[in-house]
Amino acid sequence: MPTSLVDGDSLLAVDIGAANTRAVLFDVVEGQYRFLAAGTAPSTVEAPYKDASEGVRNAIDQLQSTTGRSLLDDSRGLISPTQPNGAGIDVFVATMSGGPTLKAVVVGLLADVSLASARRLTETIYARIVDSIGLSDHRRPDELIDSLLRQRPDVVIVTGGTDGGASRSIQKILEPVGLASYLMPQEKRPAVLFAGNQKMQDEVRSLLGTLASALHFSPNVRPSLETEDLDPAARELARLFVEIRKHQIKGVDTIDLWTNGHFLPTGYAAGRMMRFLSKVYGTSKGILSVDLGGSAAVIAAGFKGKSTLGVYPQFALGENLPGLLNYTTLEDILRWSAVDISPGVLRDYLYQKALHPSSIPATKEDQAIAHAVARQALYLSMQAAKREFPRYAAILKAGLTPLFEPILAGGGALANAPSPGQSLLLLLDAIQPVGVTTVILDQNNLLPLLGAAASRNNLLPVQVLESGAFMSLGTVVSPVVTANYGSQILRARMLYEDGTEARADLKFGNIEILPLQAGQAARLNLQPASRADLGFGPGRGGTIPVSGGALGVVFDGRGRPLNLPEDAGRRRELIKKWNWTLGG
């Protein structure tokens, strides 16, 4: 029997974000775990505070005010375990995305094999790759040393060699890493994760053991040439991330102590939750979670018990925002805007917003710009993530988003949109789901915290997920079809539980809604046009059970991939119309 059912352990989870720190309380109510309350305070990772624990304590203070439950003692230490008077908490976990993006150097042998694995591994934490060293690198060892000294990486991720395979080449490549570390001041030496040939651990230890700020080992990400297994290395890298943050930011060590080592990068925790949900609810479709915030865009997907995770600081909406222009153009961002905005105004916006990442739009025009930027950032993140989805992911057409059920969305830009309709349209534009899927909004940004909690209590995430702590936006029906604007592509008939029915005729280029309230269920009969595919095969329909949500059942007839009109005026009119259909 799970311990939680016996003890009813209360759990406090904290997320230290770029702008805000949140403290969330879970406890047992009527035999089931529930999300009880949340407290938020500005993060204190940055100057003048430079102490992450201050923001954590302030967020917990706010939670205490809301719940009336004492969680901190007079010296502002955590009360644990729960006291006879009800004060305190049994279990504490934490996640962190705030802090500067780590600089990572990846080291491996072959560009398409171990270096590719190292890159994917790096994308599980908040890091950007500043250099890549492999067999095909033509730089001399002393040039590599100088490059490393210039780049000053926070972490070096070493892969390469199958277990028992190549060792001399890796040793040769690691020598410049060791020499560069030796030349760096002690406090600036990088941490190293070795995830290569397991037979080399002793050699690596003797080469780098005294030179790295921390040296961690994980099972080989490429135990054989054909096999990639990132999970154990990602787990170790997540731990190393926290170790690096402990060196960088005061107060992280205190929080780590409170969590008893259950402290994870926020994105990694979301990925763990996807893997968990994929195992619990796994269908032939995948499970998708997207999170767009100030530190990164995080795309986590679960497929048959396996997960892929992409943490993309380059697509974040915070201090790195001007860097978005390294990946896209002003015009590509503006295509999403319902308001006529000049490229110059948008460029100024990106730079100005980066100065004050926690600021929010107060006017409609500012909101329009913010959402156009968010759409493009999420769109780019999804394009990057799609490249890493497994080949066995169910798809309707090459290049399109795989079939997912459900899609969970969180992060400031999505969870705090002015209306559920705006959140949904942002998701539909950027993710472009296909077939039939449920879209769920994580308005309290609980998902990563549940991922962190899962390691302490595997019952809690499931019960909280099923408790209504998340907001269902509804069921989305998105046929894969190309047609002339205005031509009919789908007929739908919804039979409600009370016996009444409603119909919708979906024309290409339009969005339609059939109302179905949250908590309600209905049966939906779908009859697509000859070439439209909903996942049953082109032109094939069927009757499926659907569940309601804030927007009911939404039919997105804009085709996949979504092609916006070239004419700017026409495009803006359509975006306004789609917004209006979804409630503005």
Binding site: Y49, R140, L179, L183, L355, I360, P361, Q422
Partner: protein, 351 residues
């Protein structure tokens, strides 16, 4: 709620730590009076390295090669110096490819640092050295006016300030820069073209204080040898009235620009300092504030971006904004006399 703080102060106690990026030698003395451009510490590092793989060249194992290496860590070698000599009838010599200092020797290899480069740490502000940080730098204290900016190009200089902006939303054009301004710090308003930045470099000026800069000019601005401090942001923004009043009334005074790039984690910010003689040490500015009525605040987001006002009232709960978002807000009376509702996250306390 904790409030971000922007310092715009007519008279305050300014204490700044100045530290080298790597250990070095501190040249300043305790209680020494320094100007902003004085070097207070320096450190040397190698511009590049040369790795001599003795074992490979001599076709020996690393341990065998180690026995033949004739230099040790710390040795300074001239180019061509014999580093190791092989065995045999005609022994092969391994020589230093460049002049350098041995920083590591072992494993059959010798690592030289080549081409010493010295980094000079400047005081950054005029004042008195009140603390020595051994091998790292100093803490300097001064009294005077302090205006913090949002962007700087990393340079430091001091000069007499000349006001060419005339008003808070003034625009500086290249045509306004004549030879009489050589060696001055220019209070210039907005700059909208690269020619103006280049014309200022040709004079040269000792610095530019700008309200705003087009993002497209940032690359050029970074290349300028004189300091540039931007007070308000990017695009076409007037200078906030608090900074404008303080700066425009201090024209013809000697001002220091420490255009240190903004770093939200370390707290480094570009700053304009006008050192003033005082008989009594003024109070140090508050680094931490909590939003409260009566505070002077600056708006960080449209509408009224950059406006200065007084926080009148903290609204309870959260407020629905025109954008459709909900957030904790305050009523702020801006200088036009208008009262506006502003999300707290869009405010910073000026003081």
């Amino acid at each position: 709620m904790l409030a971000p703080v922007l310092h715009i102060l007519a008279l305050t106690n300014i204490v700044r730590e100045r530290a080298l990026p790597v250990p070095g030698k501190v040249s300043a003395r305790l209680q020494q009076k320094v100007s902003a451009t004085d070097v207070v510490a320096e450190a040397s590092w190698a511009r590049e390295h040369a790795l001599i793989d003795v074992a490979r060249i001599l076709h020996l194992s690393p341990s065998a090669a180690d026995k033949l290496i004739k230099c040790k860590v710390g040795d300074k070698l001239a180019a061509g110096t014999v580093v190791a000599v092989g065995r045999g009838l005609i022994p092969r010599s391994v020589r230093a490819p460049k002049e350098g200092r041995v920083v590591a020797a072992g494993g059959g290899e010798v690592l030289l640092e080549v081409g010493e480069s010295t980094v000079h740490l400047r005081a950054g502000i005029p004042g008195t050295v009140v603390q020595i940080l051994p091998e790292r730098g100093v803490v300097i204290q001064t009294a005077g006016a302090l205006i913090q900016g949002v962007w700087g190009n990393g340079r430091i200089d001091t000069g007499l300030m000349v006001n060419l902006a005339e008003k808070a939303d003034g625009v500086l054009a290249a045509g306004r820069l004549d030879p009489s301004l050589r060696g001055s710090v220019i209070l210039g308003g907005q700059v909208k073209d690269a020619e103006t930045l280049e014309a200022a470099a040709e004079l040269p000026v000792r610095g530019l204080i700008l309200s705003s800069l087009y993002p497209s000019l940032l690359a050029v601005a970074r290349e300028m040898r004189y300091p540039i401090v931007v007070t308000d942001g990017f695009g076409s923004l007037p200078m906030n009235s608090a900074a404008w009043k303080l700066l425009s009334t201090n024209a013809k005074r000697e001002v220091t620009l420490n255009a240190e790039p903004y770093d939200r984690y370390s707290g480094a910010r570009p700053e304009i300092i006008i050192a003033l003689p005082v008989s009594q040490e003024p109070a140090a500015p508050n680094e931490v504030e909590v939003f409260a009525p009566g505070q002077t605040v600056r708006l960080r987001r449209p509408p009224s971006l950059g406006a200065i006002g007084t926080l009148v009232y903290l609204n309870p709960g959260s407020t629905l904004l025109t954008s459709g978002l909900r957030a904790p807000t305050a009523v702020v009376k801006i200088e036009t006399g208008e009262s506006v509702i502003v999300p707290l996250v869009n405010l910073e306390v000026v003081g």
